[in-house]
Amino acid sequence: MKRRDFLRTTVPAAILPTVINGFSVKAFGAESPLVQLLGTTDTDHVLVIVQLNGGNDGLNTVIPIDGYANYFNARSNIALPENKILKLTDKTGLNPAMTGMKALYDEGKLGVVQAVGYPAPNFSHFRATDIWMSASASDEVLVNGWAGRYLNYEFPNFPVGYPNSDMPDPLGIQIGSTTSLTFQGPSVSTGMSISNPTSFYNLLNGIEDPAPNTPAGKELKYVRLVAKQTSQYTSVVKAAAERVTQQSPYPTPNSLADQLKIVARLVKGGLKTRVYMVQYGGFDTHSLQTTTTDTTVGNHANLLKNVSDAIKAFQDDLKFLGVEERVVGMTFSEFGRRIKSNSSVGTDHGAAAPVFLFGKNVVPAVLGNNPTIPANATVNDNIPMQYDFRSVYASLLENWLCVKNADLQQIMLKNFQSLNIINSAACKIVNPNTSGNSYLEIWGSPFTQSTTIKYKTDGGHTLLQIFDTMGRLIKTVLDTELSAGSYTYNFDSGALPAGVYYARLQNGATQQVKAMVKVR
């Protein structure tokens, strides 16, 4: 039970007057000033971020069965045989190597968000990774990370005054090498990196000379801070790890499984750490993504198998350890890959790709439609974005880490759509169900000069955008508050070249993408 719930429901009002000058606790709801004054958001929820470095090929991970002919046509040298695809729904399936995650889906512990990206995608590994980690727009540079901003918001002033009795543990933990941009807060990293929780080393306490106000002094202070931090957190992490002596089996060798095993151990061991991050690389499959004789095996299949097996084992272990209710995970990669394969039996850097969510409290469904694959895909065709990746972050923050909607914008720096990806009871926030309604129609496609876009809104913030196949934002038709109803917009394509364009409507938690084709 959460501390806030505990106070609200079980503490007798009689003991409170000394604290709050006689006001009855019942006078305050969850949103009340009293509860706000209790401090940081109280939750025992944990978020695990799994980074797949290199740009995972989304189309060979989550396969559009309903568009199979075009899919096969676009990438015949690496296309997966239709009869081997692991079906999640009639329309959508997983790579045959992903039996573990297929099982999780069947158990109701896996969600898929289709075609996650952002307007004007960047095709450079480093910049695209920075965009995903910082949750910036494509043309905006942020030097801190989204998890870092969240943790800094919840635990202001960190690291000054930490650890303390409210937060005795590291705010975020990255398993592995250096802490990434994801955890970078406004001034210092909120993440602690560990490779093995049992091999810490005790520091010596000693004399400290004053640090001058020079660059050397700045670095001296930084090193000293890490020194202190390290020694302070070493014991709690080690103690948490030592409390757990039995875990269910993990596959070996599998470096992602090794990392997730440590995460499960520390969660069960009682750390209050909110966010964990693990990394797994090798997804930059420019060549030999599959073998030339069998597309169900090879590099990419091995990578996906390791990811799938590791996450399945992690989920099973969380259940074994009895902490399944507390953990949700997500995967991300800096970009997907091109629709059309190259003749090196690989794929070049692309745009939008699916994101996986796993855990007992995710909505076990495929959110969004399969990407539309053109009948004759060309080398420049990319998958258009359906969901902004920052909407995934915002939804996890709001519906899993229980950040107040009003506070979200300060972390995400902008208002993002709330997606139905987390069990609505997790933070007791109800998501509207809008499935089955058509919100967007194209009247007249193919067209030569102009076409009519008909769209519907349930009222409130409504966004209508036009993208090209490279994911570039051609036009923002509207970005405003509307009252509920149906509207039309006449799209004049002006001097745009012939080709495929996408209209994207977003209204609250709903969005739809429709293709339209300009011909000469």
Binding site: V141, P156, P170, S177, L181, A216, E219, V223, N342
Partner: protein, 561 residues
């Protein structure tokens, strides 16, 4: 103020984020430095251009003027930049037919192919051992630190390159060109066997262009991403056009050379964007087509002003400090870039200008670099004059060098295998840069290393390396005086002073074992020198020196250079 601010104002929620007082940077520029040239400045110059400042080297350079010292450091002969290649320090293949079996132990393997994957892996290890050895045994010049800089810049990874011979060839290109002409350097690295493999150049053909190298050539190696590191001035179309120019190159696995195949080359004209003056590179056919188009491509790229600015920023972040503020950009980077272009991209004049500048010797720029793992490890071995097996014992040395590489890997720096084509994060990742080297994982490990080097050392293959604290003390001018010994140790090991009270405390607690009279130490030292074989005397001295250095090396000050 929003509601939450108001309600939580009394709880210090949302107070301004903690920020260490913004340090004073400096307005000084590239004018020649005319200030004092004392031991302090010599140590500063050596810690930045070599690995650690060894006492003997400090003495050597103290006999020169500042300008002479810089010139000496930048003067690397052809023989020095093309050292003898790595030798076979591994056992034969179990396959009796493998050609590697013909390579005798202790002779170089770089000219003989192997068909055995296991042998290839051992060759990569051998290459890394060799490189570590080059750094440990560096000559009195900048070559080793600069080679590592170029490796970070033209980053490659052995597991992607695949063949040990190509990994070696890549390293040889870095050394050979380290102080040469950057434009020639870029051409050689473009056609380097290792690089052709690493960034898929060998797969780049007219029918199926592979954009990998065409992109990184511009994004990382030459033009860069602009000052804010986010908005490259070239376009996606330029990436594609460059990829087309670069089609047709392959690696010949028999001769281990790069070759050009005209039939794989895209002979159409390549149109570049307005950033490159809308240049059209004329498509060419025939055996020389690829070479001629590559020349055109580099000529076009090197016409932009971005290349010189980008490289000078990279050099600055490696040799001076990571923070490039507006004043540094205007007073240092821009003038250096001008020198670079005026000298037709010769590297040496840029480095000479930088290292002789008042900016480089500015007190505000001293001591502010956080040592990289390699700097930490190699610098320690050199500063303490750690003894390695005799040079002819190549196996013994290989074992020791491998130990040091393993340590560097655990501190997150694996030479020949940086994390990505962008090199190591501390040289590009804002805002922390060098600070990324130090975190809750690496910091304790770095301390464990200095401890173990003093206590037991590291043993591998029967060879042990460790610090002899007495040897270090003997290098100091007056080790019998505990005050001078501590002051001198601090002077050579640190870049920041310790307060007198701190030094007195160390003297009392460690060298005098809680006593107050200096002669306790002086007598112990004198007795040891008079009779070094007396184990009692030796232990008294050794134990105390060990504790002293253990303490000093664990201070945050020892992480800085």
């Amino acid at each position: 103020m929003d509601r939450r601010d108001f309600l939580t104002a009394g709880k210090a929620k949302k107070a301004a984020p903690v920020q260490f007082a913004s340090p004073t940077r400096t307005l000084s520029g590239t004018s020649p430095y005319a200030g004092p040239w004392t031991t302090n400045e010599v140590i500063h110059l050596l810690k930045r251009t070599m690995f650690g400042a060894k006492k003997a080297d400090v003495d050597f350079f103290s006999g020169m003027t500042m300008s002479q010292a810089v010139d000496y450091l930048l003067n690397v002969s052809a023989a020095q930049s093309q050292p003898l290649p790595p030798v076979k320090d591994y056992t034969n293949s179990t396959d009796p037919l493998d050609p590697d079996n013909a390579v005798l132990a202790g002779q170089t393997w770089v000219n003989t192919n192997t068909n055995d994957g296991g042998i290839n892996n051992r060759r990569v290890a051998s290459l890394k051992n060799w490189w570590m050895g080059r750094m440990i045994n560096q000559e009195k010049n900048i070559l080793e630190k600069l080679t590592l800089f170029w490796h970070n810049h033209f980053s490659t990874e052995t597991d992607v390159i695949g063949r040990g011979i190509w990994c070696y060839q890549n390293n040889a290109v870095l050394r050979k060109n380290a102080l040469g002409n950057f434009k020639i350097f870029v051409k050689e690295i473009t056609l380097d066997t290792g690089m052709l493999r690493y960034l898929n150049g060998y797969l780049n053909t007219a029918g199926t262009p592979d954009e990998n190298y065409g992109r990184e050539l511009q994004e990382l190696f030459t033009v860069g991403k602009g000052i804010n590191n986010a908005t490259p001035p070239y376009s996606e179309a330029d990436v594609k056009a460059a990829a087309k120019v670069l089609t047709g190159w392959q690696v010949n696995g028999t001769t281990n050379t790069s070759t050009f195949s005209a039939s794989r080359h895209d002979s159409t004209n390549k149109q570049f964007s307005a950033f490159y003056g809308s240049t059209i590179i004329t498509g060419r056919t025939g055996a020389t087509g690829g070479d001629l188009e590559l020349n055109d491509l580099l000529t076009m790229i090197f016409t932009t002003s971005d290349v010189a600015m980008n490289i000078c920023r990279r050099l600055y972040r490696w040799f001076v400090y990571y923070d490039i503020d507006a004043a540094t950009e205007a007073n240092v980077i821009a003038p250096l870039a001008q020198v670079f272009r005026t000298n037709n991209y010769d590297i040496k004049p840029v480095l000479a200008t930088l290292f002789k500048s008042e900016h480089f010797f500015d007190v505000l720029n001293q001591g502010c670099i956080i040592k990289s793992p390699i700097d930490k490890i190699v610098g320690l071995c050199r500063e303490f004059d750690v003894q390695f097996p005799v040079a002819t014992d190549y196996l013994g040395n290989a074992n020791c060098w491998q130990t040091l590489n393993s340590l560097a890997i655990s501190f997150q720096q694996n030479i020949c295998d940086p994390p990505s084509v962008a090199g190591w994060q501390p040289y590009y990742q804002e805002p922390q840069f060098h600070e990324i080297w130090i975190n809750s994982d690496t910091y304790p490990k770095r301390n464990q290393f200095t401890d173990q080097m003093l206590l037991t050392g590291y043993t591998r293959g029967g060879k042990n390396i460790k610090i002899d604290p007495v040897l270090f003390a003997k290098m100091m001018p007056n080790p019998g005086d505990p005050n001078e010994l501590i002051s001198d140790a601090v002077k050579y090991l640190f870049r920041l002073p310790l307060q007198q009270t701190s030094k007195d405390q160390l003297k009392k607690d460690i060298l005098l074992s809680g006593q107050t009279q200096d002669y306790y130490w002086t007598n112990a030292w004198t007795a040891y020198i008079a009779n070094p074989n007396d184990t009692t005397n030796a232990n008294i001295v050794k134990t105390r020196l060990k504790d002293l250095f253990q303490y000093l090396m664990k201070l945050a000050e020892y992480q800085l250079a």
